[in-house]
């Protein structure tokens, strides 16, 4: 919680504000001894309440795991003697081209992220380190996108994508997200915290603007890049409505749309199959999340929302 983007909550900061985002102690401050860590009776109540809510929150996922790993006869009844099986995953995998969907999602997320990082880096550099006429107008144009989300402009954007001949292509899904006001804003904040002296020193050494950007600014803003990347990946991995509109073939469908097509056309409603497919859709991102929990949570904190 160091960079304050417009979309991060202006949490009460200690007097030493604006630590550079490269600070290694970023957000890891821990207070160990607290009063009001109640004892005895109240503590038991607290623990019970907290865990009841926690179980309630985990229930859908636990159910999905149960149903996916047991034969469909056990999808709606709970029994400890139920045999474990991977059959549902095998069947779901064969019933719909989930492998293909997975590749599509992967390509989609990668293309979007790469374009976002490049475009946002260039724009943020211009805003952070150049004084030029019209910069304020240009910045307002960028900020406007924080208010109007592309998600809402499905009618016109579909028209544009169709006009470009990009219907049912992965590029067609990705293109509206390439320029991210949020990414530009976040990186601009990060670049502004880079000391001018470093910039000047590099120039004295004979580096040109490109080299300064690549050798000084980008490395120093790495935590911001990681935070933005995680937020972008999770957003676009899970995105559904726009890809649903743009795609209509196996070759381009991402996992989310593929899952919906699979679940909607599978009139027999085999819950075990659907939950297996559901888990497959969520698994890659979820596993990544489990491995990099701290980074994910801190990224979302830093990035606010997107």
């Amino acid at each position: 919680m160091t960079t304050s983007a417009s979309s991060t909550p202006p949490a009460k900061r200690p007097p030493t504000t604006e630590i550079a985002p490269v600070s290694p102690r970023d957000g890891t401050a821990r207070v160990s001894l607290r009063p009001f860590s109640a004892t005895g009776h109240a503590n038991l109540l607290d623990t019970t309440g907290a865990w009841l809510l926690g179980l309630l929150w985990l229930l859908p996922l636990l159910y999905a795991v149960w149903s996916a790993f047991h034969p469909s006869a056990y999808a709606t009844r709970f029994s400890l003697s139920a045999p474990l099986t991977l059959e549902n995953f095998v069947q779901a995998w064969q019933a719909a081209p989930f492998g293909r969907y997975l590749v599509n999602t992967f390509v989609l997320v990668t293309v979007i992220l790469a374009a976002q990082l490049v475009l946002a880096t260039l724009a943020a550099y211009a805003f952070a380190r150049f004084t030029f006429r019209g910069s304020e107008v240009a910045f307002m144009i960028v900020l406007l996108q924080l208010m109007i989300m592309p998600d809402v402009l499905i009618v016109e954007n579909y028209r544009t994508i169709a006009w470009m001949g990009l219907r049912d292509t992965i590029l067609g899904i990705a293109l509206p997200y390439f320029a991210s006001a949020f990414g530009i804003f976040l990186l601009r904040q990060a670049f502004k915290t880079v000391p001018r002296a470093l910039d000047d020193a590099a120039r004295v050494e004979g580096a040109n603007a490109w080299q300064v950007l690549w050798r000084v600014y980008v490395p120093l803003a790495r935590p911001v890049y990681v935070a933005y990347a995680l937020v972008s990946i999770s957003h676009h991995w899970n995105n559904f409505l726009w890809p649903l509109i743009v795609t209509n073939s196996v070759q381009t469908r991402p996992l989310t749309v593929g899952l919906q097509v699979f679940a909607a056309t599978d009139q027999g409603i085999d819950w075990s199959l659907i939950t297996a497919a559901t888990l497959m859709t969520a698994a890659p991102l979820f596993i990544a999340f489990l491995l990099f929990q701290r980074q994910f949570v801190q990224s979302f904190m830093r990035a606010g929302i997107r």
Binding site: S6, P9, P10, A11, K12, G27, R30, V31, P35, F36, S37, G49, A50, L53, G54, L55, W57, P60, L61, A64, T76, L119, L122, A123, Y125, A126, F130, T131, F132, G134, F139, I141, L144, Q145, M147, M149, P150, D151, V152, L153, V155, E156, R159, T160, F178, A179, A209, N238, F240, L255, L259, Q260, I274, T278, A282, L285, Q293, V297, G304, I305
Partner: protein, 291 residues
């Protein structure tokens, strides 16, 4: 390339991003307005200027009013409930509850799963006769209820899913804010003999206010933007009981092919979002330094 003299460089750096921003955000917003005052081109009928006709249709369209009402209810209920839960979660995780790390994971997990995936699981929970809720209520002898099939309960059922998905996400912002509160305040309050509730009410809650403002704004925006669960679980039914504005836009375009009417609907949606954004900038960004 000097930092100040050449004004070509920054524009070169900006142009790719600005071009795409304009193409997919600003142009479509203006084009939506433009198309909303024309008729939809049909076979044998070109698009003609019709002025406010689409908006008049809108005012006379019961489905539009239903969608607007649903959206407002959705925001009014899901936002406070999700926030109350997220504060409770944050306070629990912030204190030394046993299994804290696991608990935090449990709360946050729904936020990271695709809405489309969790909607399918919830769909099963709500299924009559053999769904999980049906089984539990039948075991207790409360009978069976078609949660998603009855107009009275379909929208609340979707609200539950939204709350479940968002509360853990908002929790992390409260957690961050709680960790910023100086521990000396808790010590002082303890010395003064304040109860936990008093400490929360008089110290933590006021200090969490900026976070609350931020979360409320984003939650309201989400309430008008999220439609994935509607697509999976109800498709706006039964009898438009779960119709939301964005889903209605989607239906009007991709089921009825009435792009002009959809444009008018989108204008309403954009106006609502603009109001929220205006509030946001007045409340939040007064603190942000752009220079």
């Amino acid at each position: 390339m000097n930092r100040t003299s050449s004004s070509r460089a920054p524009w070169l750096l900006l142009s790719p991003a600005l071009l795409l921003l304009v193409a997919f955000t600003h142009y479509p917003a203006v084009a939506t307005l433009w198309h909303s005052v024309f008729s939809t081109a049909r076979a044998g009928a070109a698009s003609v200027f019709v002025g406010v006709e689409n908006y008049q249709l809108l005012l006379d369209d019961p489905v539009f009013w239903q969608a607007l009402r649903n959206n407002v209810w959705f925001a009014l209920i899901t936002v406070p409930v999700a926030i109350a839960l997220s504060i409770a979660m944050a306070l629990w995780v912030h204190r030394q509850v046993p299994g804290r790390a696991l608990l935090r994971l449990a709360y946050f997990t729904p936020a990271i799963l695709p809405m489309i995936a969790v909607a399918n699981i919830w769909l099963f929970f709500y299924t009559p006769q053999y769904g999980l809720i049906a089984q539990i209520s039948q075991a207790f002898g409360w009978g069976d209820h078609n949660w998603l099939g009855q107009p009275g309960t379909a929208l609340p059922a979707l609200m539950v899913v939204t709350i479940w998905k968002e509360a853990g996400f908002f929790m992390i912002f409260y957690l961050a804010a709680l960790q910023q509160i100086s521990p000396t305040l808790a010590e002082a309050a303890a010395l003064e003999g304040a109860s936990r509730w008093q400490f929360f009410r008089r110290v933590q809650w006021p200090l969490l206010m900026p976070t609350t403002v931020f979360v409320v704004i984003n939650a309201v925006i989400n309430a008008f933007r999220l439609v994935d669960h509607v697509v999976v679980m109800t498709r706006g039914g039964p009898d438009n009981a779960t119709q939301l504005l964005l889903y209605y836009v989607y239906q009007v375009v991709f089921s009825f092919w009435d792009t002009s009417y959809a444009a008018a609907l989108t204008v309403v949606l954009l106006t609502l979002l603009a109001i929220v954004a205006f509030v946001k900038f007045r409340l939040l960004d007064s603190r942000t330094h752009y220079q």
